[in-house]
């Protein structure tokens, strides 16, 4: 057993140490506070995938973590009232970051979205570990932008040693983005259909000369021929259609037989027909020319085969510049053809379905 004086001495020592310990607590707290007071995240920015309100988009963050130490989580708090970390936050209407996914992470990695994230408070977490100062990039997808148009939204960014954004912030900073209206540009391209018919026409229909085609004296020993032209262009997306409407060569009630099914010209037969190609038998006409995409329909598109049936004779399937069609007329008569003046009036019609 120790003497009483020794016990008293030991008790005083203990009391003194307790007092020192108690007094040192505030000092330690101050020291600790100073050493962990939050530093500013540097070079920080947020880039939106789109600034359109309510759109689901990406939010890409980049900033420099200035403090070496343990990092376990990062908090992105979206507020409309102030960027100051630690103050009351007004959540942006319509914003939803709880559905965010991490599309990419560069620098300090290993993060996943923490389950406690809310519509305006996105927390990403990782196994807490030491980091050194560095620039980081995080791209989050499937974030719904705020619903207000032209609204500034502050995002308070804080890093923590903890894995759930609790405790003392290590570093902090804020960025700001703005939703914005979009600009719509509009114009009208007016419709047009340009069509001309004549014995000869220019490619752009600025001229069309003549309206009569003479086949001369019809003969049972040779084929009589003639030509006329037409040109067409349109910006109807469905193009144009050219029609023939008319009768065969007629003199009173005597006619020259129109050719139905396309057929070759036969001297001595009663034939009246046309086509839109260059022919060698007889030698008449030329193929369509010009930059357009118009072409004859099948009944009128075979060289040396002629027909005269009312209906579509040419068309373009889409908008097109001018195509010049040359119409070749042939006429044959038998030896017994009644004398007379044989005439016909052919009407060519162009339509477009605007």
């Amino acid at each position: 057993m120790f003497p009483r004086s020794y016990r008293l001495f030991v008790r005083r020592i203990c009391i003194t140490w307790q007092a020192l310990l108690i007094m040192s607590v505030p000092a330690l707290a101050l020291t600790f506070y100073k050493s962990v007071s939050a530093a500013d995240l540097a070079n920080r920015s947020i880039t939106l995938g789109t600034s359109v309100a309510s759109n689901v988009t990406t939010h890409s963050y980049q900033f420099t973590v200035p403090t070496a130490g343990i990092l376990g989580s990062i908090q992105f708090e979206y507020c409309t009232n102030t960027p100051f970390v630690g103050t009351a936050c007004t959540a942006p209407a319509g914003l939803n970051v709880s559905t965010a996914t991490i599309q990419s992470q560069i620098g300090i990695t290993g993060f996943s979205v923490h389950g406690s994230s809310t519509t305006n408070n996105l927390i990403i977490t990782r196994v807490a570990g030491a980091v050194v100062p560095q620039t980081v990039t995080y791209v989050f997808g499937t974030i719904t932008n705020p619903s207000a148009v032209q609204q500034s939204v502050y995002v308070r960014i804080s890093t923590y040693a903890s894995t759930d954004a609790s405790g003392v912030r290590t570093d902090e900073g804020a960025v700001v983005f703005s939703t914005a209206r979009q600009i719509g540009a509009q114009a009208f391209v007016p419709p047009y259909l340009t069509f001309c018919v004549g014995v000869t026409v220019s490619g752009d229909c600025t001229s069309a000369i003549g309206d009569k085609v003479s086949l001369g004296e019809l003969s049972s020993s040779s084929t009589k021929t003639g030509t006329s032209q037409m040109s067409a262009a349109t910006n109807d997306v469905a193009g144009y259609v050219l029609y023939l409407s008319g009768t065969t060569l007629t003199s009173g009630n005597i006619i020259v037989d129109p050719i139905g099914t396309p057929a070759a010209s036969i001297v001595g037969n009663s034939q009246f027909g046309i086509n839109l190609r260059a022919n060698t038998s007889p030698s008449v006409g030329q193929n369509p020319t010009g930059p357009g995409t118009g072409s004859p329909t099948a009944s009128f598109n075979s060289p040396n085969l002629f027909s005269y049936t009312n209906g579509v004779i040419a068309s373009s399937p889409n908008s097109t510049e001018f195509t010049i069609f040359t119409i070749s007329y042939i006429a044959n008569v038998p030896a017994g053809q009644e004398p007379g003046v044989y005439t016909t009036t052919a009407t060519y019609i162009a339509t477009a379905n605007f």
Partner: protein, 440 residues
């Protein structure tokens, strides 16, 4: 007995006389004491004395002291100064904890033969100057100058290092006739005081700010002073497009040939991002249709995937690097006629000139025929422009950026088109999204 009494009385009277004489002597001496003391220490009080320090911050080094005082003695030379740095003005001097060993003489004014400067006394003690013994509290300066005189003087010294203690320090000043600091040469004395105090730290924070707005505005309308005053209109109608000319916004509403709405596009930005702001854009994906969904197109149209077809209901996009349009050769695009700075105080956007649109430059693809975006009063109507660009991509393309803050600068946009003869009729539209990315 009587004799005895008589003897006693005599003795008593003698004693009384002695007491009286002694008392008289004491009183006489007391009356003379001031004169005696005055003869042994003739020091007068230095008047109008003060010490101005260059800083009051604890732990400061090389602190400068400017002593100013009025020498009462005018009859003697002034060849020695002794400064004692103490925690009290009187009594034994307790050092303040400062480091005095680096002290130096800097300058002086008003002393007799002022051109003869004081110098720091050598480290060793010398009579009253106990600079070695009291190295933490005492320093001395000396010079050789027999000129007499007094009055107001200053003496500037430096090289004093404070400790971290918040405290008031009293500096006892003594001047000497000679430079060997003998007590008999002491002239005047006085005490000044300085205080080492805490510093006041004032902190404020400016919050991050971005005001960004996108709008369409009539060219006859004054520009908004800020986004709060910006119009909410967003539609730009460039009217009738055909193959005879290049039309570009703003287009007047002059039936039947133009039929536009006289608006052009504008982006206005205000941010305090110290690293600047970047403006980017991309055309929105059309909600319906096939191919060329980010082109100027008829809603729902099926277009050729080549992007060059002039018979489908999608305009051929201008090159992403910009190209000059030729009337009749189908194209659609946009360009920046200018950056207007009349509404703010900065000229940050595109101040770096031509470039890619980043690092403070503007993207040359969008800088128009004149390749400049200099602010001008009527810059939405740049004459003879035929150069446009388009971004047929979901990836935002850079338009322009700054490297510092931007104060309500406005970027103007003009959309332009020309049609082929075969460009199908229809109402063509495209919607564009603009993004501002400030970096703090």
């Amino acid at each position: 007995m009587n004799r005895s009494l008589s003897s006693y009385s005599l003795a008593s009277r003698t004693t009384r006389r002695l007491v009286i004489v002694a008392t008289a002597l004491v009183l006489t001496l007391a009356g003379m004491l001031p004169y005696i003391l005055n003869g042994t220490a003739q020091a007068a009080q230095l008047q109008d004395r003060k010490a101005t320090i260059s800083t009051s911050e604890p732990s400061s080094t090389d602190v400068e002291f400017i002593f100013a005082y009025n020498n009462q003695d005018t009859a003697a030379a002034k060849q020695g100064i002794r400064y004692q740095f103490c925690t009290t003005p009187l009594g034994a001097c307790t050092a303040a904890g400062w480091t005095l060993t680096g002290f130096t003489h800097d300058s002086q004014t008003g002393w007799p033969t002022n051109a003869t400067a004081f110098t720091a006394h050598a480290a060793a003690d010398e009579n009253d100057c106990l600079q070695s013994t009291n190295s933490t509290s005492e320093i001395c300066f000396e010079r050789t100058s027999a000129t007499t005189g007094g009055g107001a003087v200053t003496h500037t010294i430096s090289g004093i290092n404070f400790n971290a203690t918040i405290q008031t320090v009293y500096i006892r000043i003594t001047t000497y006739l000679d430079n060997d600091f003998q007590s008999v040469d002491l002239l005047d004395t006085g005490v000044v005081a300085v205080a080492v105090v805490r510093q006041l730290t004032t902190t404020g924070k400016v919050q991050e700010r971005l005001e960004f707005c996108v709008f369409a505005i009539d060219d006859a309308t004054a520009l908004p002073t800020n986004c709060a005053a910006a119009p909410t209109t967003t539609s730009i109608d460039i009217g009738v497009v055909d193959n005879s000319s290049i039309v570009q916004s703003p287009v007047n509403d002059s039936a039947p040939t133009s039929l536009g709405n006289d608006d052009y596009g504008a982006l206005q930005v205000n941010t305090n991002a110290q690293d600047g702001v970047a403006l980017t854009w991309f055309p929105d994906l059309a909600a319906s249709g096939t191919n060329e969904l980010r082109s100027f197109r008829v809603s729902g149209a099926t277009c050729n995937a080549s992007g060059t077809d002039v018979t489908d209901q999608c305009f051929v996009d201008a090159a992403s690097t910009g190209e000059a349009f030729t009337a009749g050769t189908e194209r659609f695009g946009v360009y920046i006629p200018c950056r207007d700075t009349t509404q703010g105080t900065t000229t940050g956007l595109g101040a770096g000139g031509t470039g890619s649109g980043s690092s403070g430059t503007y993207n040359t693809a969008y800088s128009g025929t004149d390749d400049t975006i200099t602010s001008a009063a009527d810059c939405e109507n740049e004459a003879s422009n035929v150069k446009f660009a388009w971004n047929d991509s979901a990836t935002a393309a850079a338009l322009i950026s700054s490297t510092g803050v931007v104060d309500d600068e406005i970027l103007k946009l003009r959309h332009g088109a020309t049609a082929n003869a075969t460009t199908p009729t229809g109402t063509y539209t495209v919607v564009s999204t603009f993004i501002a990315t400030p970096q703090f």
